[in-house]
Symmetry: C2
Subunit: 297 residues, 2 copies
Amino acid sequence: MSGVQRAVVMMAPVDQEPHLVDPARPLVLIDDEGLTRGDGVFETMHALDGEVYKFGAHYRRLCASARLAQLPVPSEQSCRVAIELGLSNAGAGGDAGLGAEHTIKLSISRGAPGGTPWAWLTVTPVGAATFAVRRSGVSAVLLQRGHDPAEDSGCAWLLPGAKTLSYAVNMAALRHARDLGADEAIFTTSTDRRVLEAATSSVICARTGHGERTLVTPEPSHGILPGTSQARIFAAARQDGWRIDYGPIYPADLLRADAVWLTSSVRLAVPVVRLDQQPLPHSGELTDLLTGYLVGH
Amino acid sequence: MSGVQRAVVMMAPVDQEPHLVDPARPLVLIDDEGLTRGDGVFETMHALDGEVYKFGAHYRRLCASARLAQLPVPSEQSCRVAIELGLSNAGAGGDAGLGAEHTIKLSISRGAPGGTPWAWLTVTPVGAATFAVRRSGVSAVLLQRGHDPAEDSGCAWLLPGAKTLSYAVNMAALRHARDLGADEAIFTTSTDRRVLEAATSSVICARTGHGERTLVTPEPSHGILPGTSQARIFAAARQDGWRIDYGPIYPADLLRADAVWLTSSVRLAVPVVRLDQQPLPHSGELTDLLTGYLVGH
């Protein structure tokens, strides 16, 4: 595996001893239902200097996703062994001042028909593109989500809040945003244009005028994916004296906010600097503060 | 490949000469976005005595799905070569009286990041379970779809009507139906409980009382997948003197229909014999008639 930047650890079947595999070789059967049906769940985590912060929140969300999809989950201990094995075999973590950073993605697939679900873990050094976007921010467009996902929340078979491998629409929204010259897509409901979430991240905005210190995010229990980064920022911000608030947020709220971020586990707090081609205010100081809430000790 | 029932033909990259591969071996990279993002499209077709009927309708829908997902499509000629190659290397087709039957599934995946989209084709003899269900029918439950997919139809980034690899919700609905003791799930809108489609098939019902001969299906342009089998049945039935009608259909309409079917390319017209635990009337004669519309000459 020398010279290979990323490390892949196989955990198949899910309770088997984690072991390194060579990702340059095909590893997946062509009738695996992770591939043919997008039938699986995943979590993306972040390691800083070899430590996965908020592992507990990720593991709990993985278990919640898997429970909805009726998939088994590797034990917490097995995940920790796999993470350790992956980290010690991946290339050195990218470092832009916070420490050595790795992306850790843990996935569970249904497996082939008649076969067994399996899990795998990929560890990759965080790269320059991620560091750049944290500094320079992103442009975003608002795209209708077609329906209010709150309508799904009582229906377990619609996998509400589960982080599944079926991300075709999220990927299509990102391609559409890029076709429009933007970097990111922020979904709104089609009916009342309420802000939901971005394609692969949560939305937070800040109001800081006239001595106010308020962070706002859309209500996370209403069918959107509960963001582990958003939750961590809010917990730390509250302790630091911020008022925190859970929507509703409308596009006008984003346009008059003092800062807007997309938050996710690896990119951390990425400032939105343009929304539907209108410039948004942003503050390196506030971004550093939110980043500190995420990865600080 | 001797002794292997199914044949798999690789078409990677999509314009490469189709060639047989061994599906017992891993063929897919672990970071393929078909797997990690459900990012791809597919069609399931049916061959009878070596001939794929309604190939044109499948190829057009594949092209429509791929256009929405910004994926390339193998040429029609390349698909025909691959189908021929697969059919001549798969086990003998199952035969329950119609002729030798094979399932043909053609899929296109985004491929690995920075790589190339690729396509593959699987040919499998139709088996006893499919023949059994055509005769004995299925029990179904009505499950809310959470929203009216008609709301998606103007938004290309939501991939309305595209048949993507992101089927996690469809599979979860089938599991939920089975947990409830049924075989199949029929989706309804959450707001007005209008019937939409089943997890992997279209819904058709017949009214035949008092000399009436009417077939009804939910309006196929309103965000549900346009069924190639439903379309073929309707075209032939109209020529055969049936009145055809496009919804709306409500659960009460299914309960008072003279027959209800789930139609799809390989299972053909499967009678629904119980709906939410209530028996539905069904008629082997009508099922044979619809099957004839599908596969007859």
